[in-house]
């Protein structure tokens, strides 16, 4: 299969996409330093800054979350590959301020290693940085082994909550607490139906039989936990909701946030249909879907499928979710 992507030299993927990204959203973000994505209008330096890092190829993630009420700096790496510690240290220096910096790291080996080394150096330099790991993929490990869980779209909820708190003037400790509360109360499960093409190599990153779907598929084509036959939106929603509800031990009457994140070629139409299925099922289980949305927030190139995210919400987390925000990929 010929790769059908509009690109130039594969070596220039990230630099070109970042230039285009900066052009497209010049009102909200800009590039600084060594391809750091920062806000067009920086937030006041007496407020806690939020920084994240992550591989490229997942657009709009993660740089698309830079903006009011969300991130201050995103450090994009190569395609599907975390940036190395030096650029992360650069970002932490840029973000450094008396109020402190919260570094949000998706739990993937490369990202974590980079972050750990950067944290070590930041400490040596006396920077005021705290780190939080997001580990929401319930398919890779049980709840009591969070280190085995990968970071999926859950990072957005953590960034939203901590970002809103920071914007409202919360201290670094408070931001950490909120981020931690969100992190502990969230869970994500992915499903994939078609593979994506790695834009550098032109190769399919996974193989999925024609009549199957893979539950638990990772963000880079890592195989999933269960390969089953294609199912309707209703049935797929039911399977996935049950796993998420069980993982979070959600009880009747509890309030949840639900997010359907399209990862590539699965249409918004389908995402809305799945969301509608979820609503029906949750209603029947008497679980309150107090907030929800659907859209492409973190993609895996043109992979077909979606990530279903669920979080147990309390009134403060709901308020933070509702707080105003404005970034390239969303606004309220």
């Amino acid at each position: 299969m010929t790769m059908k992507k509009f690109i130039n030299d594969p070596d220039d993927l990230v630099s070109e996409l970042l230039s285009g990204f900066a052009l497209a959203h010049a009102d909200k973000i800009k590039l600084a330093g060594n391809n750091q994505v920062v806000r067009a209008k920086p937030k006041s330096r007496d407020k806690v800054a939020l920084v994240t890092l992550g591989g490229s190829g997942h657009e709009p993630a993660l740089s698309g979350y830079v903006g009011e009420g969300l991130l201050d700096i995103s450090v994009p790496g190569e395609i599907f590959a975390a940036p190395g510690p030096p650029r992360l240290v650069e970002a932490l220096r840029m973000a450094d301020r008396p109020a402190g910096v919260l570094l949000i790291v998706l739990n993937h080996d490369g990202d974590v290693m980079s972050a750990n080394m950067a944290m070590e150096m930041a400490e040596k330099e006396g920077l005021n940085v705290k780190q939080i790991l997001t580990r929401d993929d319930i398919s890779t490990g049980p709840r009591d082994k969070p280190e085995e869980r990968r970071g999926l779209i859950g990072c957005l909820a953590v960034i939203k909550a901590a970002g809103a708190a920071a914007e409202q003037g919360a201290s670094l400790d408070e931001c950490c607490q909120i981020a931690n509360r969100m992190e502990r109360n969230m869970a994500t499960l992915a499903v994939a139906v078609t593979s994506a093409t790695h834009p550098s190599t032109g190769e399919a990153i996974s193989e999925i039989p024609e009549k199957d779907m893979v539950i638990g598929m990772g963000q880079h084509g890592e195989s999933g936990s269960a390969q089953t036959e294609l199912a309707t939106a209703d049935k797929t929603a039911e399977i996935m909701l049950d796993m998420l509800i069980e993982d979070l031990s959600i009880q009747q009457g509890e309030d949840i946030l639900l997010l359907i994140n399209g990862v590539g070629s699965t249409t918004l139409m389908e995402q809305y249909i799945v969301l509608n299925s979820c609503k029906k099922i949750l209603d029947s289980k008497k679980i309150n879907m107090v907030r929800c949305t659907a859209g492409e927030f973190l993609t895996v190139q043109e992979m077909g499928g979606f990530q279903m995210f669920m979080a147990r919400m309390d009134s403060e987390l709901i308020k933070l979710w509702d707080a105003p925000c404005k970034c390239p990929c969303m606004a309220t």
């Binding site: 790496g77 590959a81 190395g84 993937h108 290693m113 080394m117 990153i205 990772g218 890592e222």
Partner: protein, 215 residues
């Protein structure tokens, strides 16, 4: 070449030798990474070694310690997932393991490698048998120490270490990965060496070739 003293120039040749080995074999590394992984290990190592070469030519101090920490920083600066931090920390450890001295004796060489391994261990809890870089690196470092303690010369120590690394890399063929991206597709990589372990083995092979190179 040297038999009992490793100076700045030799260290440069070793580093460049390592880079050459990787560059000649990057396609194979990517291929190995495609069995269960994401197929980018060769590309990333290639970029890492380009960064390494650049930092070697930019380094002018004549100090091995500084050379190695520059190299470490350059390798880490490769945006490539696990690779930059893993290999970068190995070089960083090597740097912290050598004194400000201008030449290393055979004991110092073994110590340098041990320090590299220790620094890398801070990045990962990988153990031998997990099908990672550790399967090649741990035996290589152990063998370097054994050979040094036995009184072999530096060339022989490097060669023994490289052989052990190669052996270690080959041993990963029958393992199922327990760490890294590939662990989620453990079956797929059965029968194939771990790309990171092969990189370690190539780097040690490059050290030998570089050190023995009289050009």
């Amino acid at each position: 070449m040297m038999t009992d003293a490793l100076d700045y120039e030799v260290m440069v040749k070793m580093l460049l030798g390592a880079a050459r080995q990787i560059k000649e074999n990057h396609a194979r590394l990517s291929e190995l990474d495609s069995f269960g992984g994401d197929g980018d290990h060769g590309t990333t190592m290639l970029r890492a070694m380009e960064n390494l070469e650049n930092s070697v030519s930019a380094a002018q101090t004549g100090q091995i310690k500084k050379l190695l920490s520059d190299v470490a920083w350059a390798v880490m600066g490769t945006d490539g997932g696990a690779t930059g931090p893993l290999f970068g920390s190995f070089f960083m450890g090597m740097s912290s393991g050598v004194a400000e001295a201008e030449v290393l004796d055979v004991g110092a060489v073994a110590e340098m490698f041990e320090a590299g391994l220790n620094c890398l261990r801070k990045q990962t809890k990988a153990q031998i048998g997990d099908k990672t870089v550790m399967d090649a690196l741990a035996p290589a470092v152990k063998e370097a120490r054994r050979a040094a303690d036995e009184g072999l010369d530096i060339a022989a120590v490097l060669k023994q270490a490289a052989d052990a690394a190669g052996e270690g890399a080959r041993s990963t063929r029958d393992l199922e990965p327990r760490l890294g991206r590939a662990k989620n597709a453990a079956q797929q990589s059965l029968g194939h060496e771990d790309p990171g372990a092969v990189s370690v083995s190539l780097i040690f092979r490059g050290f030998v070739k570089g050190a023995l190179d009289n050009g």
